[in-house]
């Protein structure tokens, strides 16, 4: 029998050979298996399926995103430890702990995972949690689309983790430039795994972009004009506009690379009329907006955090809005700075260099506005503010390093050096990650119902900051000394070794920071009964979400809020304090969306489709694709709006049970 149809390129020797990969794959498999067995023997599958996996509650979806992102942080972080260890030990006659090919797969996986699954995951997680509440809405615009987007994201994550055990991963870096990523130089399945986990997760991102932009446009509560929206909402709007217009470029480019590799097209091949530089051009036309997609919501979190913990209105609301708008627009005008050295000449390089410097200005405006917010505020130095202050220090340094490289002649020396690596890590860790950590710490009590342990959180924070400085300041120096990125071995005579050792120690301290974060979660959970958020407003907040009980009921707001000004909740509290009587609430029936098993099915079928594409099992691709179509057809058959009604009496019951503590409501 011809097994090629059902096995494609799968053969017996697809399992890993080196100890590091075997270790990683086994760990994942054992932990995964352990979780599945636990769920089975404690009879929790029904609960998990009903309460979490098929839930279209945006709050649950947000938590699922963050859980997936944190798991991937562990994997990406462990990759980082391996990379640092290799570079700290692979000097002179020693060749470190991994082979060059494995090293290349590790840094490719590290970058891909951190950007697409950790950063994007935390971002979509926080947006899911907070956005509807901040705009006074009961839900997102398209709940089914929301869950489907999550399952596509999770599907991509599962596919990339499968590559650890079955086959191999890409060794072509996190962006897989041709000709290395073309079929003749990467004949294995690695690059295909990379392509398809990103395609699937990328479609999830697009769907989320559609959803969140529609939510902001259509579902704001009564009275919330654009200029009364919380700053986080503005930042999400900018970010989602970027998602909508940048991700299709990625979809197209990944598709073209896959066509090159599979059906013999000549988009980016070295001969045959291909133009490999067009790949670099297109991938960065996506790639630059992508980093602004990541940072804008982090800026939004900081706007909320700084105002709340300075007990003061955000300074310069209008200029903050304009800064977001300018950053959003300019994101599309700087992408060539990622390839100044590709030969475009002074006119082109000069234009993009200037635009790169210009885009630093609105970011500066935001920074000054946050500081101005703190000035003469009554500052409460809680954990979210720690993350903000860490951000101010790190992001400024990383930012000016970026402006240095915005000058093309300087970039000719620094391009693809460790100076570049240090710069973008400073931005992403010091900016994106710190922002999302601040957001998680800030909103945790609201969504989980108890406060996080501050001490352990502060330990985590200091480990992250000290560890980061130790890990990356040496890299800035090494960059100036001529060290390029992605090297798995170097000569002793270069004098780089001591700096790499310091960097290795720094990475270890960051790992300690991650451990402290895990400890924080565990200890907080154990001590939760002593730290319940009873008032729903643990930080004396300014925005609408703090008017709900913690954790938030499924419908968010029993009474739809009406808003008259910015910092709507602060307004209400002021009114309550001045003795204004709030009328008794009149509850009404609330229409809620039902669970959507179809989303899970689509996610699983997407994994199958991706796996089939990777291994050329075309029957699997066909079946999974047909399955997705059929699932959608079944879902959309008939008039069923997939909703249920929560009776007013039930709403009243839930409200009375959770509001025994005199929370001001809208």
């Amino acid at each position: 029998m011809n097994y090629a149809y059902i096995l494609g390129k799968l053969r017996g020797d697809v399992f890993p050979h080196d100890i590091v990969t075997i270790g990683g794959a086994s760990t994942m498999a054992i932990v995964g298996l352990g979780v599945l067995l636990y769920l089975t023997f404690s009879h929790r599958w029904t609960w998990l399926w009903r309460e979490w996996l098929t839930s279209v509650d945006h709050k649950k979806i947000g938590i699922m995103y963050i859980v997936v992102a944190m798991i991937m942080l562990l994997r990406g972080g462990f990759d980082a430890l391996l990379l640092r260890t290799q570079q700290a030990t692979s000097v002179g006659s020693s060749h470190g702990i991994v082979s060059p090919n494995t090293f290349q797969q590790i840094f490719s996986a590290h970058g891909t995972i951190m950007i697409f699954f950790v950063a994007m995951g935390l971002m979509f997680g926080l947006i899911n949690l907070a956005l509807p509440l901040l705009i006074g809405s009961r839900d997102v615009a398209f709940p089914f689309l929301n869950l489907t987007a999550f399952w596509l994201f999770a599907g991509g994550m599962i596919l990339i983790n499968l590559s650890l055990g079955i086959g191999e991963f890409s060794a072509a870096g996190w962006l897989a430039y041709p000709p290395l990523s073309e079929i003749n130089y990467s004949p294995g399945v690695g690059v295909d795994y990379w392509i398809w986990s990103l395609q699937i997760a990328g479609i999830g991102s697009l769907l989320s972009g559609i959803n969140f932009l529609s939510t902001i446009v259509k579902m704001r509560c009564r009275g919330m004009n654009l200029m009364k929206m919380p700053m986080f909402v503005w930042s999400v709007m900018g970010s989602m506009l970027l998602v909508l217009f940048a991700f299709p470029i990625l979809t197209a480019t990944l598709s073209m690379l896959f066509l090159d590799r599979t059906i013999g097209t000549h988009f980016f091949t070295a001969s045959g009329g291909g133009n490999l530089m067009m790949y670099v051009n297109l991938i960065w036309a996506w790639g630059h907006p992508e980093v602004y997609i990541l940072i804008l919501p982090a800026f939004g979190v900081f706007s909320e955090v700084v105002a709340t913990f300075s007990r003061k209105r955000l300074f310069g609301y209008t200029t903050m809005v304009w800064a977001i708008a300018v950053i959003t627009i300019l994101s599309f005008s700087v992408w060539l700075h990622h390839f100044f050295t590709m030969g475009a000449g002074a006119d082109v390089n000069g234009f993009f260099g200037i635009m790169t410097m210009v885009i630093a200005i609105p970011t500066g405006v935001k920074l000054f506005n946050w500081i101005a917010t703190m000035y003469r505020g009554r500052i409460s130095l809680r954990l979210p503010m720690y993350w903000f202050l860490g951000f101010v220090a790190l992001f400024t340094v990383g930012g000016v390093a970026g402006v240095v490289m915005a000058v093309p002649p300087a970039d000719f020396q620094l391009h693809n050096s460790l100076f570049l690596v240090a710069h973008f890590h400073t931005m992403i860790v010091g900016g994106v990650l710190f922002g999302y950590f601040a957001g998680i710490n800030y909103w945790f009590p609201k969504f989980i119902g108890f406060k996080l342990n501050e001490t352990l959180g502060k330990c985590a924070f200091w480990c992250w900051v000290v560890g980061f400085l130790l890990a990356f300041i040496p890299l800035y120096i090494l960059g100036f000394m001529g060290a390029t990125r992605r090297i798995d071995h170097y000569s002793t005579s270069l004098g780089w070794h001591p700096l790499f050792i310091v960097a290795g120690v720094g990475a270890g301290i960051i790992a300690l920071g991650v451990i402290f974060t895990l400890l924080q979660l565990i200890v907080s959970f154990i001590q939760r009964k002593d730290n319940l958020d009873l008032s729903g407003d643990p930080w004396n907040g300014r925005t609408l979400e703090w008017s709900t009980p913690s954790p938030v009921p499924v419908y968010n707001y029993a009474i739809e809020p009406v808003v008259y000004d910015r910092d709507a909740f602060w307004d209400i509290k002021e009114a309550a304090r001045s003795g204004k009587k709030l009328p008794a609430p009149e509850y009404e029936d609330i229409v809620m969306p039902k669970n959507a098993p179809a989303s899970v099915i689509i996610g699983l079928l997407a994994i199958g489709l991706g796996f089939g594409m990777v291994w050329h099992i075309w029957i699997l691709v066909g079946l999974c694709f047909a399955g997705i179509i059929i699932t959608l057809l079944i879902r959309t058959t008939g008039e069923d709006p997939h909703e249920y009604v929560l009776r007013a009496a039930k709403v009243e019951e839930i409200e009375k049970a959770t509001r025994a503590r005199g929370v001001a409501h809208v």
Binding site: V217, N275, A285, M342, G345
Partner: protein, 128 residues
């Protein structure tokens, strides 16, 4: 405090429908513009080349606007004109992407000698 009458009206898309007349107009205009461009190219040897090019681009852009208005009802939104806003943003991104890419890719041979460029071009059969 609970049930005030809103001052503004919810934006509904009821102004965004067509009529038989508008669809017909759009169709006829599109046919004319398509045939016009076609005839220009078919007869290109009798007309100045740059004139042909400018006209077919113009006809394409006009037909684009015609179909956007008559078939897709863009521009008939009541305020706030979100669809128009998102459309405008998309057009900007598309223009930057397409013309930016052409500009960039065209300049990649800036630092090559004419001899190097010729070798490259002949290898590719005439590309950038």
């Amino acid at each position: 405090m609970s049930k005030e009458k809103p001052v503004a009206v919810v934006s509904k898309h009821s102004t965004e429908y067509g009529t038989l007349r508008t669809y017909f107009t759009g169709y006829i205009l599109s046919i004319i513009l398509t045939l016009g461009a076609y005839l220009l190219v078919v007869n290109r040897h009798t007309i100045e080349r740059s004139v042909v090019l400018i006209l077919i681009v113009a006809f394409a852009l006009i037909q684009f606007l015609v179909q956007l208005y008559y078939f897709l009802h863009l521009g008939k939104e009541t305020k706030p004109r979100w669809k128009l806003f998102v459309f405008g943003f998309m057009v900007s991104v598309v223009l930057i992407l397409v013309f930016g890419s052409i500009w960039i890719m065209n300049h990649l041979n800036t630092r090559m000698t004419p001899a190097q460029v010729n070798t490259y071009l002949s290898n590719q059969g005439g590309g950038f």
